[in-house]
């Protein structure tokens, strides 16, 4: 048990938590009845993916991905050792996740607009009640 903990959990702690948070989010997307709760769950689900990406770009002891001015100038004049890639975090996941955050908030906005329309039409945000009222609509027609 302890060996498993040391080998599988500790070096991958971030990834374990990412799976846990993601599963919390996914569970509430499927199981929660209230539409707003579903959306909060969806947002949590999406942030878990951000956690995966950002975690995989981390380097032990590295700094932020902005190059120091002096080092940058020195690298231009041919000083090969001026920039040490091991000391600068991997910028690619950050770029990708900026895009993903934007997509997330756009989706949230559209979903909230839909929620308001559903509330206006059905007077409730509980999924089971909405479905019942829809069924009643079917029976009318």
């Amino acid at each position: 048990m302890e060996a498993f903990f040391k080998e599988a959990v500790v070096p991958h702690f971030n990834f374990w938590i990412y799976v846990i948070i993601m599963m919390i989010g996914l569970w509430s997307v499927i199981a929660k009845n209230n539409l707003i709760k579903k959306l909060i769950g969806l947002s949590i689900f999406q942030t878990a993916i951000l956690l995966l990406y950002v975690s995989l770009g981390v380097k032990e002891g590295a700094s932020i991905p902005i190059i120091d001015h002096h080092a940058a100038e020195r690298s231009l004049v041919g000083d090969a050792g001026a920039i040490n890639p091991d000391l600068i975090a991997n910028p690619v996941p950050h770029v990708l996740m900026l895009t993903a955050i934007v997509v997330g908030v756009a989706t949230l906005g559209v979903a909230l607009a839909l929620c308001q329309m559903i509330y206006k039409d059905f007077g409730t945000l509980e999924e089971d009640e909405v479905l019942q009222k829809i069924k009643a609509l079917h029976d009318d027609v």
Binding site: I17, N34, I36, I44, G61, I64, L98, V105, Q116, L125
Partner: protein, 81 residues
């Protein structure tokens, strides 16, 4: 990257996520979701992803929460779960 800090925030994140999904009062859920956003923003800053942290602070903790609250105030605050 500071490992202890990392672990503490991650644990708080899980707690915040669970709380915001289990409160029955939607307004409270939205506020806890805002807290969740701030925590995760701290986490990004701690992992060296400053640009992501900045975005998360403005979007996740700021605008998303405001949008959810705007919707809750226009619909209903209580929920059954």
């Amino acid at each position: 990257m500071i490992v202890t800090f990392d672990i503490i925030i991650l644990v708080f994140l899980v707690i915040a996520a669970i709380i915001s999904l289990s409160v029955k009062d939607l307004l409270a859920a939205a506020m806890v979701f805002g807290i969740y956003g701030f925590l995760i923003c701290l986490l990004w800053a701690e992992m060296g992803a400053v640009d992501v942290a900045f975005t998360e602070a403005t979007v996740g903790a700021g605008v998303s929460t405001v949008l959810i609250i705007a919707t809750i105030l226009n619909t209903r605050r209580r929920s059954t779960d």
